[in-house]
Amino acid sequence: MNELLKANILKWFGKGKRYDGRGLDEFRAVVIEQGVTKNAEGSARVKVGDTEVIAGVKLSVEKPYPDTPKDGNLLVNVELLPLSSPDFEAGPPGEEAIEVARVVDRGLRESKAIDIRKLCVQEGEKVWAVSIDICTINAAGNLLDASALAAVAALKNARFPEYDGKTVDYKSMTDKKLPIARFPVSVTVTKIGDSIFVDPTVEEEKVVDSRLTVAITDGGRICAMQKGGNSPLSIDEIGRMIDLAVAKAAELSKQL
């Protein structure tokens, strides 16, 4: 359906150029703003070029899962709101929303970004549950990386409400922050033709051959990955994609 677009994008890559004039390793302007909505215990707005998402953290006290009685609960949910793109429809989350949520979730969980042991109130009975909801406001490409950034920024912004052992009093907030140990960052490296690059636009996403989302935690260690797109990748390509992701992640982390 998009042969003309693809041919044109490829022609530009042939000249060492991106369709919108950017370099292959260049992100659009990234703006992170914390504390953007009052009723969430933590929140952040992330803009990557024209892409805009809001993440909100809600904290509550729940029963832990039976297999992890000492661990706090973590939930990551992504709402690709129909408000944010003509391509999104109202209704329950589709594959794309679930993929973004799960990739963000793995980045947080596997990096042990939150020290979930410290969320235990009473073993086997009560633990803090951290719910992160990410809502898209304007979907203009690279929601994966924007969502991951927003999730971490919102966690960083979060404060515990008062809890007397029975009920959570959302009206009185404490100064106590979440036990955050690390700040993982995701970078999605996209491949079209023979070119690999970061931070795709909507147009580039329409004709993507393959992509690799790499979640990176401190020391440049990789903590989660997700390959997308319909074309396979060689080990060599994956190597180059990871190198690019690690380099960009170091830059993005500075903004957190």
């Binding site: 009723n39 809001i54 909100g56 953290v57 408000l83 203009a140």
Partner: protein
């Protein structure tokens, strides 16, 4: 005692501070943000566009479809489970009916205009803020409209008839509270949204509606200004 002084020090007929902005969502055909006090609404308009399934189409005019939604972290207290509720369905419906009277959709038979309203932060009056944002977004999308639609909640807290109740007032426990969301078509003074819950006497209600009309005239000026400020 009774409720003789508003919690935030406003006069009975005084609105909370309002910020309105048009064109905040680039991918939409029209969009707006409307903030009143601590309630924030975004609205995006898509269309007129193709409508499927076909049996929903009206061969004489385009149809309007609204969807109101609170973001999961928008409310004081517990997380709002995503996916819609009976409440959000009903609000979507009354929002549609509040906006429809001003829209001229005859040029777009069989098509649909979609309005999506999202609330990232709430402190009462959410449907009214949503309607205010949606009206700006519809105008921003270039649709033909006889007028704007402005909306606010009015009501009575104990003995005080007041406009634009906030959450603390809606949940006042020292006496009866009536919450009456209304929407006005400013030029004609007609009401296109009217709901109410709580307890109120007829005379107070009439006074509240008159207060609401005046407040909506102010709101419509802010809406118009937001549209002009885009250019």
């Amino acid at each position: 005692m009774g409720y003789d002084k508003r919690v935030d020090g406003r006069k009975p007929d005084e609105l909370r501070p309002i910020v309105a902005k048009a064109g905040v969502i680039k991918r939409a055909d029209g969009s707006a943000m409307f903030k009143i006090g601590d309630t924030v609404a975004y609205a995006a308009v898509y269309g007129p566009r193709d409508l499927f399934p076909k049996f929903l189409q009206d061969p004489q005019r385009g149809i309007l479809r609204c969807k109101y939604n609170m973001m999961p972290f928008s409310g004081a207290g517990d997380r709002v489970r995503p996916g819609g509720s009976r409440r959000s369905k009903e609000i979507s419906m009354v929002t549609e009916k509040a906006l429809l009277p001003v829209l001229n959709l005859e040029d777009f038979p069989n098509a649909v205009v979609d309005v999506f309203i999202e609330l990232p932060q709430t402190d009462a009056g959410t449907r009214c803020a949503g309607i205010c944002a949606a009206a700006i977004a519809l105008a921003d999308a270039g649709l033909s409209m006889k007028d704007m639609v402005a909306s606010v909640s009015v009501g009575k807290v104990d003995n005080m008839v007041a406009v634009d109740l906030n959450y603390a007032e809606e949940s006042y426990e020292g006496g009866d509270v009536a919450d009456v969301p209304v929407a006005f078509i400013p030029r004609t003074g007609q009401i296109s949204l009217l709901q109410m819950d709580g307890l109120i006497d007829g005379e107070s209600l009439k006074r509240a509606l008159e207060m609401g009309r005046k407040a909506c005239m102010q709101i419509s000026e802010i809406q118009k200004k937001a549209l002009k400020e885009k250019f």
